[in-house]
């Protein structure tokens, strides 16, 4: 913990993420109008009244960017959580039992790791509709192999240690061994990969929204970037601000992952 806090970049990343969470929670208080509601003149350049200007339907860009934080964080967190759950089970079971179980699970993992997530998600969305939850779950289904491999590798290093042998000697069952003794000691590197997956998921969802496949009931930054295409020459503010928000969010997750990674490096 102190090793994490000693790094200025890591602390900045954490502060950024906390601010983004704060923005997402208090979006109604921060924004000047509800999302997707046009009550101003169309295409006003950024000014005191409309910090980030307005779009062709008179919707306040600042308010939409603020509300977009919700969709972005939701996608990132749900994806990472799904990936953590699936990859966690596969990784710990493969590492703990070893042998044929390990071989089989790792084959499955490799297969899923090769699957191009963007194209799979795109297909699923066009078939089942573009709900944000569906997108997050599909992305989670493609991100878990990374988690599984990291956790498995970590479990393998722990499996042979004395305290595991001791736990087995006093008669701990498989479930207890995995959950109480191995998982807590193998979990740290998994947090690093989860942080990078949050950023990756946000970027992937933005790409899908940019193709016009975003959740129609929400504001997403990718959608805003897609909408802005038509006013490319006339209204720069329509794409500069949502893109910058996207960049800042992903940057925050990268900085946090780097910080965690550095803090967990042995012998420093």
């Amino acid at each position: 913990m102190t090793r994490y806090l000693r790094q200025p970049m890591a602390v900045a990343g954490l502060a950024l993420l906390l601010s983004l969470i704060w923005v997402a929670l208090f979006a109604p208080q921060i924004s000047s109008s509800p999302p997707k509601v046009g009550n101003a003149d169309p295409l006003i350049a950024p000014s005191g009244a409309h910090l980030f200007g307005t779009d062709d339907l008179g919707r306040d860009t600042f308010s939409n960017v603020v509300y977009g934080t919700r969709a972005a964080l939701l996608v990132g967190l749900v994806t990472a959580a799904t990936s953590l759950a699936l990859g966690g089970v596969v990784g710990i079971v493969a590492g703990y039992f070893g042998g044929y179980v390990d071989d089989f699970l790792m084959r499955v993992t490799e297969t899923f790791q090769l699957m191009p997530r963007f194209f799979l998600a795109l297909l699923m969305i066009t078939v089942f509709g573009s709900g944000l939850w569906l997108v997050s779950l599909v992305l989670g289904l493609t991100f878990w192999p990374g988690t599984a491999r990291v956790l498995r590798a970590q479990v393998l290093t722990i499996r042979g240690r004395d305290f595991i042998e001791a736990a087995r000697a006093i008669g701990a069952g498989h479930m207890r061994m995995m959950l109480r003794h191995i998982l807590p000691n193998a979990f740290a590197p998994v947090v690093v990969i989860a942080a990078t997956q949050v950023g990756g998921a946000i970027l992937t969802e933005a790409g899908l929204s940019f193709l016009g496949l975003g959740d129609p009931s929400l504001v997403t930054w990718g959608q805003m970037l897609n909408d802005s295409q038509r006013f490319f020459r006339t209204a720069w503010w329509l794409f500069v601000f949502p893109g910058a928000a996207l960049m800042v969010t992903v940057l925050a997750t990268t900085m946090i992952a780097d910080g965690l990674n550095e803090a967990l490096r042995p012998g420093r």
Binding site: M9, R107, T111, F112, L114, M115, P116, R117, F118, F119, L120, L122, L123, M124, T126, V127, F128, G199, L203, T204, A206, G207, F210, L211, G212, L213, G222, L225, S228, Q229, F232, R233, W236, F239, V240, G243, L246, M247, V248, V250, L251, T254, M255, D258
Partner: protein, 324 residues
């Protein structure tokens, strides 16, 4: 190619079979699991009763599901991935037509990223602790966080609209009939902005990987030996350390093909580049499912091939790695 390498390649290709099988199964399952009549997924929702009757017969839709599945797999093995109803053509030939443009964009971006990324990573590693290193490392984290399509939009705004240095869209000037060198130059000028947009994230990643791999080698015995021999720091870095750092770098590059293809698709839409991106965009708009499913298959296959190439490169570059 010697026999052992050939056998290795064949064995690795066989390992790709489960993935392609899973991908095809996902496609097949989606068609039958999706709400609505499967025929609308395979043949669109435009047409009269006779058309749909013909199509139902063509896809065996009135037969038992196992038979349909068998037929689907068999067709795929034969290279028949379905028929695009919006283009009125087999999907495979439509996709093949667009591959060269996308490949040109991807390869250019990758080449650019490799040069800049590895060089930048070495520079960052050599100036660790100093402001140059911090600057490069911060830039790399930033580049890695940039959405490619947004970078494309910004590049167009500054370098095409404001400064007028580059064309804003397409692969060639419209209504031009340039030939030979003039044409190559025309394409090159159109290629600059999309390739830069696509490469930035890869540059960022490569700097990070190169920097990290060099750092891991810092305490190695052979590095100490090289320094003890009195070699110049430059020689130690480039001739001794970078050679060893190249393997993890190549692994990362090979694993990025899916991401690069995704990026290319998005960048192409921004720049109206005539590759797979626009095709995918149209297919998503018109819900051309056979085309979308084929894109999923083709992208999976390209990832498999990229992995294979990476593994072969590994074997060729590092004498310690054997044909396992």
């Amino acid at each position: 190619m010697d026999g052992r390498l050939a056998a290795y390649v064949v064995r690795r290709l066989l390992q790709a079979v489960p993935l392609m099988f899973v991908v095809l199964t996902i496609n097949f399952t989606l068609v039958h699991l999706a709400p609505g009549d499967p025929i609308t997924f395979l043949a669109g929702d435009q047409g009269n009763t006779q058309y749909f009757a013909e199509q139902r017969a063509k896809y065996d839709l009135d037969e038992p599901i196992a038979q349909q599945y068998g037929r689907y797999l068999l067709n795929a093995v034969r290279g028949d991935f379905g028929y695009s109803f919006s283009y009125g053509q087999g999907v495979f030939s439509i996709i093949l037509e667009r591959v060269p443009a996308t490949l040109l964009l991807m390869l250019t971006a990758q080449a650019l990223a490799s040069v800049l990324g590895i060089f930048g990573g070495v520079l960052a590693a050599r100036h660790r602790g100093g402001w140059v290193g911090t600057f490069i490392r911060t830039g790399a984290a930033l580049g890695y966080a940039l959405p490619v399509f947004w970078v494309g939009q910004l590049l167009i705004l500054f370098f095409a609209f404001r400064m007028g240095l580059f064309p804003t869209f397409g692969m060639e000037s419209p209504r031009s009939d340039y030939a030979g060198l003039r044409r190559i130059f025309d394409i090159a000028v159109h290629l600059v902005l999309p390739a830069v947009a696509l490469s930035l994230a890869e540059v960022g990643l490569l700097i990070r990987i190169t920097d990290a791999s060099l750092r891991d080698l810092e305490g190695a015995d052979f590095v100490r030996t090289a320094r003890a021999k009195g070699l110049k720091e430059r020689t130690v870095t480039y001739r001794h350390m970078l050679r060893n750092a190249l393997l993890p770098i190549i692994t990362v590059l090979g694993g990025r093909v899916g991401t690069l293809l995704t990026g290319a698709v998005l960048v192409e839409i921004v720049f109206a580049w005539p590759g797979l991106g626009r095709l995918l965009f149209q297919a998503a708009l018109t819900r051309d499912y056979p085309l979308l499913m084929a894109m999923f298959i083709v992208s999976s296959a390209s990832v498999v091939i990229a992995n294979l190439v990476t593994d072969i490169a590994y074997v060729l570059l590092d004498p310690r790695v054997t044909y396992g």
